[in-house]
Symmetry: C2
Subunit: 225 residues, 2 copies
DNA sequence: TGATGTGAAGCGGTTCACAGCC
DNA sequence: GGCTGTGAACCGCTTCACATCA
């Protein structure tokens, strides 16, 4: 157990471990060793142990980890014990898609409001979620207890939107705009670039990648942002 | 110019550079230095130079890079000069969302077909794209020249689907199922985990993260899979 | 015996700093 | 003078290997 800074790569993996443990729990498996977990889900056992050890000694030597207990620990560590409300800025194609997708799970994350600048969209609803004027983000966010902002606007507008939501007190932002954003201070920013991901595949398909041999996938346990 | 293996992190950044250059071209900017590009888009100038130098000497010392010429180089390097057809497996919430999202750009990536196992969905259309029986993936993929498979099925089914599409000759797979997949040989696999990304934000919002100070965002130039 | 927790080694990517060239 | 291209230093994450303990 160490109190040092935890890498984002580690917390990403904790989230994955949690999902793997849930699958095991569904099968009524009570105990699992890091080696068994690794084998089953294509992970690395040493890394599992090290990741977990940052937060406590959850295992029993010679036995392994208690599945249910470890799940509870991870839920607590990740802060998933309560519902987080999400506001999505940009009610276009992507914003609608994300509303639709995240709309499925109301327990840990709940899309509370959409925002756009298009007067034709304001007042409409997507999946039951109302679209508000983006300039009212601060008041709506406060009223609805929105903690997470999702940016789903065109690249040109993303930095502005980011600064507006952080100015409104948001400390966790997920950016889907395909452009690097500059963050500040205490605000956590994650960028998911759906275009870059596809273009990486195109590179592999083009002749260039073949010249460089295969590209084995390290899996979602590997390096990310 | 080196012929060695190119890291996926590098190709991801090339994709980002390409988008940044497009924005500059829209402003009729003809030449840009690595320092100017870095400043404008929150990148690292040394990294830009190093990334580009893997593929050639595109710059002019004392001047910088020609915007249009560099764009053309990147398009060629990434293999974006032609349309790639995409097949999405899983016509649920996520599959629909992705069809809707990727449906916008028909030039570089085109969603050619959807696949599902639900008899009620087979034969229907989403955004004009027909849903086929998943077991017909091999023949449809061949007929429609599908090169990229997008996995949008539940976690439990993802590994099976992956093996089926690779058996059908697909060499580029994008996985949205929140589970690590095991890949083999020459197949390029990218996993985008929309749940993990959100849960990382929850961690930051919970007390735990604050104990560890701020988490400055290195931007989408940083480490990924 | 068997599996955890962890210092130490190893590895890959980023950043520095400067030689080389326009 | 200014900026690229690049070896070298640096840094952080992963992997190894083993002491430790049920």
């Amino acid at each position: 157990m160490k109190a040092g800074k935890i890498s984002e790569l580690t917390t990403n993996r904790l989230s994955i471990y949690l999902r793997c443990l849930t699958l095991l729990a569904d099968e009524d498996i009570k105990t699992v060793s890091s080696a068994a977990l690794a084998k089953r889900f294509h992970l690395n056992s040493a890394q599992i142990r090290k990741d977990l050890a940052y937060f406590g000694e959850f295992g029993v030597r010679g036995v392994g980890y208690d599945v249910d207990a470890l799940r509870d620990h991870l839920i607590k560590i990740l802060g998933l014990g309560r519902t987080h409300r999400v506001g999505i800025i940009g009610a276009g194609r992507l914003g609608s898609a994300l509303t639709n997708y995240y709309g499925g799970d109301r327990s840990t994350f709940e899309v509370a409001a959409l925002f756009d600048v298009d007067p034709l969209k304001i007042g409409e609803r997507i999946e039951g979620v109302e679209i508000f004027d983006a300039k009212h983000f601060p008041s709506i966010a406060k009223r609805d207890n929105i903690e997470v902002a999702v940016i789903a606007v065109p690249a040109e507008a993303a930095q502005d939107v980011f600064e507006q939501v952080t100015a409104a007190g948001i400390r966790a932002v997920m950016n889907f705009a395909p452009i690097p954003l500059k963050t500040i201070g205490d605000v956590k920013l994650k960028t998911v670039d759906l275009t870059t991901s596809l273009e990486g595949l195109a590179y592999h398909l083009s002749g260039a990648a073949s010249l460089n041999g295969n590209n084995p996938e390290p899996g979602p346990t590997g390096r990310r942002n």
